[in-house]
């Protein structure tokens, strides 16, 4: 019997459970995250284990949730709050951009605060339950932004985020919650934020990506390999801010061709920043123009037929890769 595998979702739950066990100052709140365990069940069982004083439901008030979490963080607690969907955080951007993000710079107070936000599409969620908004958060000074692709990273980075003294936007991919599993060790440590990981080596090109697209990129790279032996590196950024530019530069130096892939919109997407970094820093290393494969600048459509055309996937990545390799 192979060892039991753990989903991305369960890995997140384990991180929260360990945080609550080890850190009496930690607490979780958000809409329906208590007895119900959250819209996606990431917090299932935690109120039962830790009590309603540490894991509790709130009114439907994103600004109050984020503002209260910031206030708690200034008093030495470690709140980890959930936005039911990242889309709804748009009702309270000022609490992140203006309040949490500027706090340490202005006042010197730490704000150890994590905002967990389920992101992304692929399940007919429509325009308001499928967004990918990392580009917006990455633009905001004073925030860190994490976006894991694998269960092990999800677990280690969520604990790492919760132990960080800064406000951390922790993006979770809804599609990955139950679609990705891996064997996880019983002994594990929190991961510090800021390190990318080569999750497939290669010398012919590199795909810079994160979140759900890491898995699509791996599939596309595998297909290139099986079709004609091409070796495409996949770099999972894991943390978008701070960005591991050393790993990016090293990957470009090793491959000389770059494809950037993400599930968010193209114009001003995080891929633009990645392309800019590549263009600025590794211009002399490039054998082909950097290329972005992203969702188009279009609201996320509901119907699966439209969403399939909208969302990047292994096939579209493969197609773009072939062009990058053949340039």
């Amino acid at each position: 019997m192979p060892p039991a595998e753990t989903t991305y979702l369960e890995a997140l739950r384990q991180a929260l459970q360990r945080l609550l066990r080890e850190r009496p100052e930690a607490l979780l709140f958000g809409q329906d995250i208590g007895a119900f365990g959250g819209a996606f069940k990431v917090t299932a069982g935690l109120q039962q284990e830790f009590g309603a004083a540490r894991v509790f439901d709130t009114p439907i008030s994103e600004s109050a949730i984020l503002g209260a979490a910031l206030g708690m963080a200034t008093m030495g607690l470690r709140p980890v709050v959930e936005m039911q969907f990242v889309d709804f955080a748009m009702t309270a951007v000022h609490q992140l951009l203006n309040n949490a993000g500027t706090l340490h710079y202005r006042t010197g107070s730490a704000a150890p605060l994590v905002v967990r936000m389920p992101c992304g599409g692929g399940f007919a969620g429509g325009p308001f339950h499928s967004e990918e908004l990392e580009a917006l958060f990455c633009h905001m000074p004073g925030l860190k932004v994490v976006y894991p692709a694998f269960p092990a990273d999800a677990r280690a980075l969520l604990l790492g985020a919760a132990l960080d003294p800064n406000p951390v936007i922790f993006l979770e991919n809804k599609y990955l919650y139950r679609h990705v599993k891996e064997w996880l060790p019983a002994l594990w440590s929190p991961a510090p934020l800021g390190a990318a990981r080569v999750c497939r080596p290669g010398r012919d090109a590199v795909i810079l990506t994160y979140g759900a697209m890491v898995h699509e990129a791996l599939r596309a790279a595998e297909r290139i390999h099986s079709e004609d032996g091409g070796e495409v590196m996949v770099l999972d950024l894991r943390t978008l801010k701070p960005l591991d530019t050393d790993a990016i530069c090293a990957a470009v130096a090793a491959t000389n061709r770059v494809l950037i892939v993400h599930e968010g919109w193209r114009t001003g997407g995080f891929g633009a920043e990645l392309a800019a970094v590549v263009a600025e820093r590794t211009f002399h290393l490039l054998d082909a123009p950097v290329r972005r494969l992203t969702a188009p600048d279009c609201p996320v459509p509901f119907a699966p037929e439209l969403e399939k055309a909208y969302r990047p996937n292994a096939d579209k990545i493969h197609e773009a890769l072939v062009e990058v390799l053949e340039y």
Binding site: T58, S61, G126, A303
Partner: protein, 325 residues
Amino acid sequence: MKHGVQLTKDSALALLRTMLLARRIEERLIRLYHQGSIFGGVYCGCGQEAIGTATTAVAGPNDLFAPCIRDMTVHLGRGAQPLDIFRQFLGRATGPMRGRDGNIHYGNLQRGVYAMISHLGAMLPVVTGGVMARRRQGRDTIGFAFIGDGGTSTGDFHEAVNFAAVFDAPVIFVVENNQFAYSTPITHQFRCQHLVERAAGYGIQGVAADGNDVLALRDIVAGLVADIRPRPRPVLLVCETLRMRGHGEHDDASYVPAALRAAWEQRCPLLLLRQELIADGLATEAELEALDAAVQAEVSAACEQALGDPPPNPATLMEGIYAAG
């Protein structure tokens, strides 16, 4: 006569028909969902059918509606056909949103119905603005803006009601207090005894109503409409009800206490109206059975037709993001 608005057989049966249509359509959607024919979610208004029915029954053609999650009867009351609704939930190219948005997120401005966005509360200022616009254009428009008990905690609820009050916008803010917001009971949502207590803080009238008694509610709404159409100003109308299914069909609503559920089951708005019709001698059991059978047949036919309709063409993905100048 017990009711403020003249209760004729025809008008009473029309109310029942709207509610029955919604109930039967939802039953069919639930089956489709469990069969895997519907992608995304199905969110039902079962138990809350009276609210959209009563409001649309007394509204005029120029009025504007911003329905929320559980308001299929608003759509039906404003002229949506069962076929439109199946196409919508099935994401068909022929549906009102052409597959670009799904399930409850639809509308038709020709009929004065805004398509909701998910962000709770966000449509309340939109319909307020729509009403202000129509009033400037010389129409006697009234707005009906729907929101759940949970949605009253959003900043948008507050901003919109206050905004409407300041500008004397004739909007009836209809709170559907169905006791839960997803899994969260109203005890964790607010601390006032009753949400009508919010009205005074905006300097507007607050009215509490039974959300399940369609005839009584229709009378109340008719009274409010008669008040505010000539003398425009907003009103807060809080309807008590219970959501009789889960938040969506993925949710078994096991957090709803059985006794509470049972009590409201007795107060099913369809049941109450049937009983009243029969007691008042306005209809016979047999007539009501026949109505239901006709509704069922209509619903089945619409469902079959929608199932045969085409999905959107992926080549149209990028069309119409902007309006052409």
